[in-house]
Symmetry: C2
Subunit: 413 residues, 2 copies
């Protein structure tokens, strides 16, 4: 029997200073892809350990963004902590961080110092607005990045005005771009390119996701008009009413509109002057939708969705989050994992959205308890057992002091 094929980032060592969401998402992706990720946590740990719903004391939000990492607790506000970090960095390929620009410098980890420690180190930063420009020093937050990027203004209806989306989309998009940048920079370095800094910001990442909305705004100088669930330039399109609930239908070309209306027994409408082209259909959207809803009343969501998709007409249900999590396609794609965590039970988390045919990704390490796996990480970095014992003892003492200090300022959920 041969050894299993190595994962894409097998052998890559990441030292991870990130906390909360955008950065931990980036470093988790690197860990999922096979890198060994050492999460450095300041005393008390990543604040997300105390956020979101907890089961047997463990935040499933934290667990969902910190699998495939080990944890080392280090106080980076004192020089001993930074000295340990520097030794870890000496043997690493990648440093990930999501501080505000400038904080790494203030720790003494300037670009020059990092080059001294490890000239081959790739430094990956995730931040709010980028490290140059008038807003570089502003604190980052998803809601604000949604607002500033133009994204919020494209959402909602004429009645609601600009609407945020509930998921912290700018955090995760920036984290995903940063992971891409990290892997690309690594590949470049391994093929004759330089070790370098890589950066992704929440506002700029989100702007790159607006697709034709930015293209058209650049071309015309005009803003898109919020149209809710109606497509601004296609009809029929949107939510329609089957006998037992709504279905979403999105025919993207005239040929697919023809198939859609044909399946409904409404093919004749295409010779009606009100509905003969997309242009006239846009003006008679309400009338057409009423006729479609009348026809759809004769069968269920499930019936129509099966039939329309078989005919090549994209359609589906509007699922709630729990419905989506229970969807048979989601099961077939292994997108909900149940991962045993010692003393915390089986933790539910989202699986791997990128599939590799020969090296399927796995949860190789469950989400670490604060400090868990740290001994191994320190050993790998060349610390001897006595040094590790001293660090662990110092951390325990520090934790007692920290708990005393924190008793009266519990973080907000």
């Amino acid at each position: 029997m041969s050894a299993p094929a190595p994962l894409p980032l097998s052998g890559v060592r990441v030292i991870d200073l990130t906390r909360i969401l955008s950065g931990p998402f980036c470093s988790m992706i690197l860990g999922d892809l096979g890198a060994e990720v050492v999460k450095i946590e300041t005393p008390g740990g990543d604040p997300v350990r105390k956020q979101g719903h907890r089961v047997e004391g463990l935040s499933w939000y934290f667990a969902g963004f910190n699998r495939n990492k080990s944890s080392v607790e280090l106080d980076l506000r004192n020089p001993e902590g930074v000295a340990v970090l520097e030794r870890l960095l000496a043997g690493a390929d990648i440093l990930t961080e999501n501080f505000r620009p400038g904080i790494l410098d203030r720790m003494g980890l300037t670009e020059e110092r990092l080059r001294q420690i490890n000239p081959e180190l790739i430094v990956v930063s995730v931040n709010g607005y980028g490290s140059d420009g008038p807003y570089a020093d502003r604190p980052a937050f998803d809601f604000i990045a949604q607002a500033m990027s133009g994204y919020m203004a494209t959402n909602g209806t004429p009645d609601t005005g600009p609407l945020r989306t509930a998921p912290p989309i700018t955090d995760v998009v920036a984290g995903l771009y940063a992971a891409l940048g990290a892997v690309a920079a690594l590949r470049g370095r391994e093929n004759g390119g330089p070790a370098q800094r890589v950066e992704a910001s929440m506002m700029m990442s989100m702007m790159s996701m607006l697709a034709y909305l930015t293209s058209n705004a650049l071309a015309t100088g005009r803003d898109p008009v919020p149209t809710g669930n109606d497509h601004p330039i296609a009809s029929p399109y949107g939510l329609f009413r089957a006998s037992d609930g709504d279905i979403a239908v999105a025919p993207s070309t005239d040929r697919i509109v023809e198939k859609f209306l044909g399946e409904l027994g409404l093919g004749h409408l295409l010779t009606d002057p009100r509905f003969a082209s997309n242009e006239v259909r846009l003006r008679h959207r309400a009338e057409l939708n009423a006729l479609i809803n009348e026809a759809l009343a004769h069968d269920t969501q499930e019936g129509w969705i099966t039939r329309l998709n078989a005919a090549g007409v994209p359609s589906g249900r509007v699922q709630s989050v729990t419905e989506a999590l229970a969807d048979p396609q989601v099961a077939a794609q292994d997108m909900v994992l149940r991962v045993p965590h010692e003393g915390r039970g089986e933790v539910g988390m989202i699986g791997f959205p990128v599939k590799f045919s020969k090296t399927p990704l796995q949860v190789r390490h469950p989400t670490p308890e604060l400090g868990a796996g740290g001994r191994d990480a320190l050993r790998t970095a060349g610390f001897d057992e006595a040094e590790i014992d001293a660090l662990v003892a110092a951390r325990r003492a520090g934790r007692r002091n920290h708990l005393r200090r924190c008793r009266n300022r519990a973080p907000q959920p």
Copy 2:
């Protein structure tokens, strides 16, 4: 003078069969990172060439997703076209495609055939639902993936019900994941791992972006409640009213709430029993918001945003798309490029959201006209001049026939 440092994906050859949006976004990212991308277009070209707003005959939507590629026009419905494609694939590192699962097989490019042509080839697929499972054969469309993934149900207010977001977010998120998978698989192959298939789907990619909404739904079995621009578990948070317009404010901890209210001269409210903790503030949100709006009326958006950010309180304007494109931070980050295109003028497009300190990304090739750059691509793949001339002549003849056939079925915008 030394030669410029190579880009991260320098020397990598991508043969790109994708069309429309998710796949072309993936292959453009690979091109932006330095790969040589050859876009194979069926006669008539990618339908997006005729979509979106056109300036001097060129779709800026198409231009924004197809820079850093060359174009070869090939009819893949006939065996001669597929034979040319196979010769191109023999020298490539990566094949990108976003057909429905099974279409590549129907062209004769089964997994086995591809292995014969090039055992080192990485095949990257973007699709709607993944290539296994009950929905594998369904046609993909962004609106449907938003609906099925649970994403739509988290958007909107209790009044609007589930709302799509206007940008085709599931297309671009899947394309971004596929690009990450492509680069990771390449890095793996170059370090002793196998050449393999990589896949990202729109529905599964989007589910992975729901962050704590899925974590909490898995932990509790309950769905998130749509709350519009209010944060479900934080107050104050949201849109507030300065003298000349709204500002978005998102204080994420008690300490930042204290700073926010302090800057407004409302620090005393934190001793008021209605506002003393986040928990009671959630119950008195409307009263607190009214007091905040009263205080904000004394200065402008700009004044408050500068002052609040300086105090560490994340805040910003809700910008329209055109406002965001004209934002000084966006200019400082080079996020709007003006790229000369021969005969088409300067084309506006979004810049590079990932920054590399030593190998800044560039538009090395403007968006190709149909067939442009194809001669070079064919030459690189080993075609001689006579073969290339024959292909170009055949393509011209085919184009005339195609135009005759298409005259009466213009695609929908």
